[in-house]
Subunit: 234 residues, 2 copies
């Protein structure tokens, strides 16, 4: 169960990403938000505070609540913990499942996932295509003790929607380690690039609310198409 | 002038990055924070909410307020809007100023900086070295109408400390566009890499509180040493 201000934050966030405010570039006033959502001014202010610290908006005294321009440009945001499918309802997302199998965690994987050696883990290889361009190769591991079932159909649509809506798990947070490297042979092949082309790599460790790791993944991005946006606040 | 909870957020943030809680991996309890900072429980809760949404901590009911483990590992965080020097007091940061000059903004730069063509702009080229390793080449532009003076001495220590402490400007937020590319010849030379080695690139646009752009920069990172951490929350 979420606090009321969190629901408002989610709703405004979705509206911003959906492009609801693209033409005007501003949020409604505090008064209008109070009226629209039927909540107190305190709740609206709390929501606005969170949205500011998440980097979506900024307030200029006397002028209103502005939406950060780069969001309006539709770059893929690094905040996309909810998965491409949820965060980019207006983009054409295609996922090709290259492989899905259950493996046993070896020592290295067990250390990364903080699970016992030998734990059953789903290993999913997917190629993501956004708006017709190869975008990334994902090599993901899901702890089967937490995600008891996965199949190609789920992996082809949205694993995160399944985890949230069907398994009703509380995804909490993620560590993303971002770096550049040379393309490996397999990723280059699927992304249509040459070996030793540059790769934008993100190593993800994703946690439930309670601090347990359910996913570890390596995502290799196509340097020709993947530009990720990070909104920082001071 | 900042609200009281923001001061508490800054203080706890600095303590976390400084490693004050590294041995225990947790923050003090709400009660202890109330006593330490001499503020109300509401203020402490607000600060904890912001620190959670910034990704520094997570709460587990009945167990306490945990610090995200990857922070404890000392990766360079993508949240480092305050500059390396402020954010990493425990690391050895060296800046070599390759060039500093005043130029006039051409059409392309003026568009990026949202200033008039011909505006005087400081162009600063710096090599950053962290803990003895070449880390990044920075190509930065500062609008001289906002940053009226810069010199090599300032650029060699910390431009951000100068902007904050001496110019007393209110830095607001930054857009960071992150991607991989092939190394250019100049950056490769200074970083000690080969041309066509992969580069982790960040294009920064940095705003004052009022939404005015004072800095635009391109930072080319050494792929052998630069791993950046993004803490995402759901």
């Amino acid at each position: 169960m979420s606090a009321k201000y969190k629901l408002i934050v989610d709703e405004i966030e979705r509206d911003i990403l959906d492009g609801k405010y693209n033409s005007i570039g501003k949020l409604p006033t505090e008064e209008e938000l109070v009226a629209t959502y039927g909540v107190s001014r305190t709740t609206v202010r709390k929501a606005i505070g969170i949205l500011s610290s998440k980097g979506y908006i900024y307030q200029v005294q006397g002028s209103g609540i502005f939406i950060r321009e780069s969001i309006l440009k539709g770059y893929i945001s690094l905040e996309t913990l909810k998965g491409f499918t949820r965060d980019f309802p207006n983009r054409e997302i295609e996922s090709k499942v290259i492989n899905i199998e259950v493996i046993q965690a070896d020592e290295k994987l067990a250390r990364k996932m903080k699970c016992d050696i030998g734990t059953n883990v789903y290993y999913v290889k997917r190629l993501r295509i956004i708006d017709g361009n190869t975008f990334s190769m994902e090599y993901s591991y899901y702890n089967k003790d937490i995600i008891p079932y996965l199949n190609e159909e789920i992996a082809k649509s949205s694993i995160y929607s399944y985890i949230l809506d069907d398994l009703k798990l509380n995804i909490g947070f993620a560590d993303k380690l971002i770096y550049a490297d040379k393309m490996d042979e397999e990723s280059a092949k699927y992304l249509g690039l040459a070996m030793d082309d540059p790769a934008l790599v993100i190593d993800n460790t994703v946690f439930l609310n309670n601090g347990n790791i359910f996913e570890v993944s390596k995502v290799i991005h196509n340097y020709k198409h993947a530009k990720l946006l990070k909104l920082a606040t001071f």
